[in-house]
Structures are given as structure tokens and as C-alpha cells.
């Protein structure tokens, strides 16, 4: 019966619809959940990728080496600078970062670099050396002489964020096409075609893995790998794979292929350096080959591309055979795809790995100086900015002087210990070298082991300065030319001073002898305590404190007589700041370790400019500096000229504290000021005076610096007179002992010394000399 059948069918259809409803609802719910989850993931993706700034550590650079004819620089020093810059020696230099050498003539092709005063392009230079100077400088191509050229600056350190992330950021344009092509060929051939996930690749990989019963192939696209590195941890679960897939699709949906590729090139994990992870091809290039990416050869690119699959497994330093095989596989693929021609591939396959030894970076590590830089930066920047914003910090450090200082301090301390038969390793030291006129910190040592980032004695060791303070006392006196000149006789006879509170002060000379009447310049030259103490009391302690304040000393100063003999604690850096004012002719020149700071995009953020402030009249400073010349000519510092040439113009002061706990020497010559301190961390006696200790190290250091050049300028209102030192009065040919001393005009003695027979005046020294040759 037709009707019955029809009814049956209708009934069964209704039954089907009713029973499938709950499944539909469930499916709909699942879809909604999935959609919601996707939106959540989408937000994450965009948030991370849009605002993506990698934490870039700050790069700290030394001063760039200026090249010009006449500059004091030896061929060896030039070569060591090139080495620190990782310039490669080649037969013919044609690319940036290469140099060739033929006896004393170098051909260098410099790297382009953006300094704080603008961009500098690559230059091909011919540099000739003769007798420790640059004798010629020209453009290697045209032969035209060049007035001034500059190398890119040595990288001397970085400030890393807490989690030790590090990057050398690359723009896609900076990356050679052959590298990206090779990368895509090896890791994700369909990169430009897929939408984030490549299902066929996954299937292929799945099948390969099943057959091999293990994970031999990844089906991940570059996009998926980027997601993995970027967002998620490294678990290998199914949920993670699903998340990864969805996020990869979302990433592709929002961003261009090139943006994704660029992010990948900067994010991919390529190795480990202690607790520093090596992310990105830019950093990896430096880590494995000590060169920027642009300077690598094709087989070196191939190695890096090969590392993507497993940086530990293919670590070229630990597993060179595996690394080589993997590299050659990449080269084969490149040849197959026509990215390089077969011959080039064959040559590349046969080349050795040429990976640098790890840890070579240590030669450019100067922790004590970096410490100073960081402290100066912290005045203007937060720690977070310093370590994550990719700042470029241009400092005043001179690597040549720094290397010399580190070596001299270490060997000097060891020699002092050996010479005295003391236990090796007990003495410690610190030293600073600055430029006199500019106030730039050129070299800094915080201890005898320069690579050890421990207690920074140069900045933090507060030690009694002893006689180092005397020049300030004498300056106070010499600022009153009507009362005191260099010829004024001071009283070195025994002194007992009773303070108002009843305490008795009885200073003694180091040689335990009192010297009667001594001319002022000799009292400073020989560092007589008694005459200095008496002078200080005559001047009044307050006036000495005022002088010290003017000279820039900010320490707490106890206004007691003992101040005169140096009962003040200062760090070596602070001592350098004090002596800077003397050396610069009375101009307070704040010491700088930084010249400028650039942001990651090379815009200038800050300049730390040269600034000076006249705090003392140049004339009395000139007089004190003259007395400090006598210190090293005939006074406590005369051991200097046992080694250094007599015609070098040097001024300085030794410092020794009670029980020989501290040995100091502060001295300047030409445009260099150096302060050396020796002491023990346990504050026990060193057995060294300023003269037998710190001075030796200063002397060795300045011997390596070479001829200091012209001496100090004479101040304007100064005149010289011949003086009889015994009486401090005018001398002439009738006197046995004669010194030529400078005086502020109008302050010289007018009386003749008894020995002066009133005869004809002493011959003009120039005439006398000419007579010798007539």
C-alpha cells in the first residue's frame, strides 16, 4: 500500500533529523570554542609580533683610531688594533674588513661605520710607518694623500640584560640572497607558496618518520619554527603542535612573507656560549667566524644554514665532522638548485671549517673600565634602558694604552714581590691614565688581574693619600706671591703643635732628619713633612680646605693639621681628578669615560662634551708644577730618570702612608697623566714607598708610551731668575749653587745672595751655548 509506505518514510526521516541534532550542537559548540581560542591566539600573535623589539644589549666601543701623518703609532700597534677589530690579513685587500701588509706598508679596506658624528663609508687606505710614526697616508686607489682617516672602533664590551639575550639585528636587505635561498631550500622549500603550514610536508615527514621509526624529518615551515622560537617553550606535544600550526597560519594572515623571514633570521637559535644563547644569523656570524655576516664566504653561510636543524648536534667546534658533512649537504642542495655553480660548490666543499676558537672575545674585555662606563651611564639612564635598548656607547678608552697598562701593572707587581722576596700575589694595585687637556680616561686597571671583574680598586679603594696632598698645600701658599715664592725659605726644624683641645702633633720627616732652612721648592721636591706642616699651620687649615674644594675634591675633609700630611682617603680615580687640575694648568676638567651615546637606530641620544672650568690662576699652578718637576729631577721621584730619557719633561709626586701601607705615584708628561697605587687588600704594610713601588710601575708604563713631546706652556706673567738655594736670594756667576726658578712677575727677591759678588750678570744661557761652538 502506497500510503503506508509514504508514512513510513516520513517517520524515518524525522527520526534521523531528531537523532542527529545533539551531534550538530556539539560540533557547533566545538567550532565556537575553536574560534574563540583562535581569536585568543591571534591576539597573542599580533601583540608579540607588532610590538616586537628584541632586547638588544648595549655595545661599548673604544675610541676610534685616527690616522694622520706624524701620528705616533708603531706598525705593531696598528696591527694589534686591526686584530682586535677582526680584520683579516689577506694577500690583496679588496673587501671591507681586510688588510694586507708589505713590510711597513699596510693596505687596509675599512668597514663602514656610523659614529656619533655621522656615517663613514668604507675607505681603501695605504698606511706607511717609519720610526714609530705614520709616515704616509693615501687613498690606495688614486694614490692621493689623505689628511685624516679613521678605523671603526674596537668593541670592548656589551651590557647584557638579565636573561643574557644578545642579538646582532639584521634587516632583510643586509642578508645575502644566497643565504636566504639556501635556508629556504633546506628548511622550507615552499616558503613563499604556503600559508604558514604545509600539510604535504607534514605528511611527507610523517611518512619518513614512520619508516625510520624515529624523528628524522621535521615538517615545520619557517613560520612554524619562528612561532616555536618566539612564543612557546620547547615541549614536543600534540597540543603544542596544534597551537603552533594555528599561530603560524595567523602569522601568515597578518604579516608579509618578508617580515616573517626577517624575524626568522633574527630569532632562530644557532648556538650556546656559556649562558648566552646565540639567536639570529647576525650574532652567529660573529660567534662562529668573528666577522659580520656580510664578510662571510659561501661555505660559511652554508654552515650556518646547516646549523638550523640542530645547533648542538652539528656544533662545528664539538662535532667538526658532522658539521662539515652537514655544510657540504647544504652546498650540494645549493648547487642542485642552481644557487651556486658546480665548480664553486666543489671548491667550497673542500675548504676546511675555519671556525674561530671560542672565547677569543676575552682579549677585548676590560671589566674595570666597563664598570666606570656603566656608573657614568647610570646617572642618565635606567639599568633597563642600558641593557635592552641596543645603545651604542662610544668611550674614551685607548686599547693600545690599556693593553700596555695591564701588562705593566701585572709584571711590575710581580717583579716588586720577587725583588723583595715577598710572597707572590699579596700586593694589589690600581692605575689610571688620562689625557691632560681633554680629561678623557684612556686606560683603567682595577687590580693586578685585569680580566677579573672583581673589586674595582681604581674606583672604590678609598686609601690615605699621604704626601700626594702636598701640592695642594703649596699651591695655597704660592697663590700669595707676596708671602711665598719657590725660593722662600721654609723652616724644617722640629715642630710640636698643641691643638686647642690639648692634643699634641709632632710630625717627622721620612728620613728622620730635620733640614733647617730649605727653599720652598725643595721642601716639596723632597716631601719634607715638618716644613710642610709648619707651612700648613701658617696658611691656616681652612684655606687649604678651600683650595682642595676648588680643585674639585669632594671628600669629607677633617679640618685638622694632619690634613696637611694627607690624612684623607681617596680612590685612585679621585686622585687623578685632583692632579688633572694641576696638569691642565689650573682648569678643572671632569674626567670622562664616554663621548657619546647613540640609539639602536643610530640617532644621537647624548653627547658628553669636553668642558673646563678655570679654578686656579695659571701662574701659581705653573709654579707648583715646576716644583713637581724638581720632585722627579732631584727629589723623592728621581728614580724616574734612571730609566727615562733626561730630556723628557715630567712632573709628579710620590706618596707614602704610615707603615708603608700605600705606595702612590701621580705624574704627568706631555698630554698624559698617570696615577698608580699599590697596596694590600688586607691593609698590611707593603714594604714600599711611593718611590720604590708605584713610581717604578709608572716609569715602566710611560717608557712604553714613548716621547711625551712638548712640555707645559709657560704662564703669561712668569719670569725666571737665578737663585742661590741656600739663601733664596738672587745669585750670579760668583755663586756655586745656582737654580733658575720661575716667579710671578714682581714677586722675585730683589736682594742679592751673599755669594753674589755683584759681578757681571750670568751669561745668557743661549749665548753660553753658542760660545761653545765658536
Amino acid at each position: 500500500m502506497a500510503r503506508g509506505r509514504k508514512r513510513g518514510r516520513r517517520k524515518s526521516r524525522r527520526k534521523v533529523v531528531r537523532s542527529s541534532f545533539p551531534w550538530l550542537r556539539l560540533l557547533l559548540l566545538l567550532c565556537l570554542l575553536l574560534a574563540g581560542y583562535t581569536v585568543y591566539l591571534d591576539l597573542q600573535v599580533r601583540q608579540q609580533f607588532d610590538g616586537k623589539r628584541w632586547s638588544l644589549p648595549a655595545r661599548v666601543y673604544a675610541r676610534p683610531l685616527d690616522l694622520y701623518v706624524g701620528r705616533e703609532l708603531s706598525a705593531d700597534q696598528f696591527q694589534s688594533e686591526l686584530r682586535a677589530l677582526y680584520y683579516r690579513p689577506v694577500k690583496t685587500a679588496t673587501q671591507p674588513g681586510r688588510f694586507s701588509k708589505n713590510r711597513n706598508v699596510f693596505h687596509v679596506v675599512t668597514r663602514p661605520f656610523t659614529f656619533w658624528d655621522g656615517e663613514q663609508g668604507s675607505a681603501s687606505l695605504r698606511v706607511s710607518f717609519s720610526g714609530n710614526r705614520i709616515s704616509a697616508l693615501s687613498d690606495a686607489g688614486s694614490g692621493r694623500p689623505v689628511n685624516l682617516a679613521r678605523l671603526d672602533p674596537v668593541l670592548v664590551g656589551s651590557f647584557y640584560p638579565a636573561h643574557n639575550e644578545d642579538r646582532v639585528l639584521l634587516k632583510l636587505d643586509d642578508v645575502p640572497v644566497s643565504l636566504t635561498d639556501a635556508l629556504i631550500a633546506i628548511e622550507d622549500r615552499g616558503f613563499y607558496k604556503h600559508h604558514g603550514v604545509a600539510p604535504l610536508a607534514i605528511l611527507r615527514a610523517f611518512w619518513a618518520n614512520v619508516r625510520a621509526r624515529g624523528v628524522v624529518q621535521g615538517g615545520s615551515t619557517l613560520t612554524q619554527q619562528l612561532v616555536k622560537n618566539f612564543f612557546l617553550s620547547s615541549e614536543r606535544t600534540l597540543t603544542r603542535k596544534i597551537n603552533e600550526a594555528i599561530m603560524a597560519l595567523l602569522l601568515e594572515w597578518h604579516y608579509e612573507k618578508d617580515e616573517i623571514l626577517e624575524a626568522y633570521l633574527n630569532e632562530v637559535y644557532l648556538g650556546q656560549d656559556g649562558n648566552r644563547a646565540i639567536h639570529g644569523f647576525g650574532l652567529a656570524s660573529h660567534f662562529y667566524f668573528e666577522k659580520p655576516l656580510a664578510e662571510l664566504n659561501v661555505e660559511q653561510y652554508a654552515l650556518l644554514v646547516g646549523l638550523v636543524k640542530g645547533p648542538s648536534y652539528y656544533n662545528p667546534r664539538r662535532h667538526p665532522e658532522r658539521a662539515r658533512a652537514r655544510r657540504n649537504l647544504v652546498l650540494d642542495v645549493m648547487a642542485d638548485l642552481g644557487l651556486i655553480d658546480r665548480d664553486a660548490a666543489e671548491r667550497a666543499r673542500n675548504r676546511p671549517l675555519e671556525v674561530s676558537k671560542q672565547g677569543r672575545k676575552a682579549i677585548n674585555t676590560f671589566p674595570a673600565f666597563l664598570d666606570l662606563v656603566r656608573r657614568q651611564l647610570q646617572r642618565d639612564y635606567r639599568d633597563e634602558d642600558i641593557t635592552t635598548e641596543g645603545l651604542a656607547i662610544f668611550t674614551t678608552l685607548d686599547p693600545q694604552l690599556q693593553w700596555q697598562l695591564e701588562q705593566t701593572l701585572a709584571s711590575g707587581l710581580q717583579n716588586l714581590e720577587k725583588g723583595r722576596g715577598s710572597e707572590i700575589g699579596k700586593l694589589q694595585g690600581a692605575a689610571i691614565v688620562t689625557s691632560v687637556q681633554g680629561g678623557e680616561v684612556l686606560a683603567l686597571a682595577g687590580g693586578r688581574e685585569p680580566k677579573f671583574a672583581g673589586f674595582n680598586r681604581a674606583l672604590d679603594a678609598q686609601r690615605q693619600v699621604g704626601s700626594l696632598l702636598k701640592p695642594a698645600v703649596y699651591l695655597t701658599a704660592l697663590e700669595q706671591p707676596q708671602r711665598y715664592t719657590l725660593a722662600t725659605l721654609l723652616d724644617d726644624s722640629p715642630l710640636t703643635f698643641t691643638a686647642r683641645n690639648g692634643t699634641v702633633w709632632k710630625p717627622g720627616n721620612y728620613d728622620r732628619v730635620s733640614h733647617g732652612k730649605v727653599p720652598l721648592y725643595q721642601a716639596l721636591a723632597h716631601s719634607y713633612n715638618i716644613s710642610t706642616a709648619r707651612l700648613g699651620l701658617d696658611l691656616g687649615i681652612d684655606s687649604i680646605v678651600a683650595t682642595l674644594r676648588r680643585l674639585g675634591v669632594e671628600q669629607r675633609l677633617n679640618p685638622y693639621p694632619s690634613l696637611v700630611l694627607g690624612a684623607v682617603e681617596m680612590s685612585p680615580l679621585q686622585v687623578a681628578g685632583l692632579y688633572q687640575t694641576f696638569a691642565s694648568g689650573g682648569f678643572l676638567t671632569p674626567l670622562r669615560a664616554i663621548n657619546a651615546v647613540l640609539a639602536a637606530d643610530k640617532t644621537p641620544l647624548q653627547r658628553y662634551s669636553l668642558s673646563v672650568r678655570a679654578v686656579v690662576d695659571p701662574a701659581p699652578v705653573y709654579l707648583v708644577n715646576t716644583a713637581m718637576r724638581y720632585v722627579v729631577r732631584e727629589g723623592t721621584g728621581r728614580a724616574l730618570y734612571q730609566v727615562l730619557p733626561e730630556d723628557w719633561d715630567i712632573a709628579g709626586k710620590t706618596g707614602t702612608t704610615d707603615d708603608l701601607r700605600d705606595s702612590w705615584f701621580a705624574g704627568f708628561s706631555g698630554d698624559r697623566l698617570g696615577v698608580v697605587w699599590i697596596g694590600r687588600d688586607d691593609n698590611a704594610s707593603t714594604g714600599l714607598t711611593g718611590s720604590t713601588g708605584a713610581l717604578r710601575i709608572w716609569r715602566d708604563l710611560f717608557r712604553h708610551f714613548g716621547n711625551p713631546g712638548m712640555g707645559q706652556s709657560v704662564a703669561e706673567n712668569i719670569e725666571y731668575r737665578d737663585i742661590d738655594p741656600a739663601t733664596g736670594l738672587l745669585a750670579d756667576a760668583g755663586c756655586e749653587d745656582v737654580v733658575q726658578l720661575p716667579f710671578i712677575v714682581g714677586s722675585a727677591p730683589s736682594e742679592n745672595a751673599p755669594c753674589a759678588r755683584g759681578e757681571q750678570p750670568l751669561p745668557n744661557p743661549v749665548d753660553w751655548f753658542k760660545e761653545l761652538f765658536q
Partner: protein, 169 residues
């Protein structure tokens, strides 16, 4: 302000040792700034320590510094005073005691509205220019302008007078 560079350079190049004739107590010869001083004749007085600075021979400013001065002038004329200052600081590293460089740095600071530092730098130039009356008078003129900018009219007047004295007027 840096327009006078060509004139000054010319003066530098043709100026020899400018000093008073040797007196009884020879004052050290003034320096004109220079990169590679030649060995000088050393007079020796019998029986005394020669602690006077060695009188240098005639020195000329190095081509590197001249190049930087030119660069600074261009930069200043283009309004990039910070760059001009950087060029001058670079020149000072090469010839730290060349008073001309400190003078030009002072003029840049004045243009940057830092009259205080301009005065100090001009004073520094003076301290390096003993015997060089031309440079000293230029420095005093600059000091006068700086003091004027700081509102110190009396001081400015005094500086002007010093300048005129040095110019022999």
C-alpha cells in the same frame, strides 16, 4: 664666527717663533701648536737643573687639524653646531695645546647659548697662548661677548680693555 679661519690658518703658517729677544733669563719660546715638534737646541745653565720646558722649534699645525677646522667651519655654517664641536674636540685630541682649537670651540659654545663654557674655553685658549698677542686679544674679545651674554657688563668691559691693550691701542 669661523669665517676667520682662512686668515688664522695663513697667520699660523707664516708665523715663526714669536718671542721677545732672549733676555737674561730666557723665557721659554712660545709654541704655536703642532704635531711633530723637531728637536730643539737645549741651552744649559751650569750648575742648575734644567727644569724649564724645552723651547720647541717652529711648529706648524698638522694637515689633519687643518682639515678638521675646515670641516668644523662647514658644519657650523650649515647650522650643525654639535657636529662642529665634535670635529673640534677631535682636533684637540690630535693637538691638545693648540690655542686656536680651544678658541673655535669657545665660539661654537657661544653660538650654542652656552656663554659660561664659552668664557672658560676662551680662558683655556689664553693659558695656551702665552706670547701670542693676536690669539689672546681674540680670546678676550670672545670673553667680553660671553660675559655680556651672561649679563656681566662690567666684566665684559674689563675684557674689552684687555683686548685693546694687547692690540696696542
Amino acid at each position: 664666527m669661523l669665517a676667520g679661519i682662512p686668515v688664522i690658518l695663513l697667520l699660523l703658517l707664516i708665523q715663526g717663533c714669536s718671542t721677545a729677544p732672549p733676555a737674561r733669563y730666557p723665557p721659554p719660546v712660545v709654541e704655536q701648536g703642532g704635531a711633530a715638534p723637531e728637536e730643539a737646541v737645549r741651552p744649559v745653565v751650569p750648575g742648575s737643573i734644567q727644569t724649564q720646558p724645552v723651547p720647541p722649534a717652529v711648529t706648524t699645525t698638522s694637515p689633519a687639524v687643518i682639515a678638521l677646522l675646515g670641516q668644523a667651519e662647514n658644519q657650523a655654517n650649515n647650522g650643525d653646531l654639535a657636529a662642529a664641536a665634535a670635529s673640534l674636540e677631535r682636533a684637540i685630541r690630535i693637538e691638545p695645546r693648540n690655542p686656536l682649537l680651544w678658541y673655535h670651540l669657545a665660539t661654537v659654545r657661544l653660538a650654542q647659548q652656552d656663554a659660561g663654557q664659552a668664557e672658560q674655553l676662551a680662558a683655556k685658549s689664553n693659558s695656551l697662548a702665552a706670547g701670542n698677542r693676536v690669539q689672546q686679544s681674540r680670546n678676550w674679545r670672545l670673553i667680553a661677548r660671553a660675559r655680556q651674554a651672561l649679563g656681566d657688563t662690567t666684566g665684559a668691559g674689563a675684557a674689552e680693555r684687555r683686548a685693546r691693550e694687547l692690540e696696542g691701542r
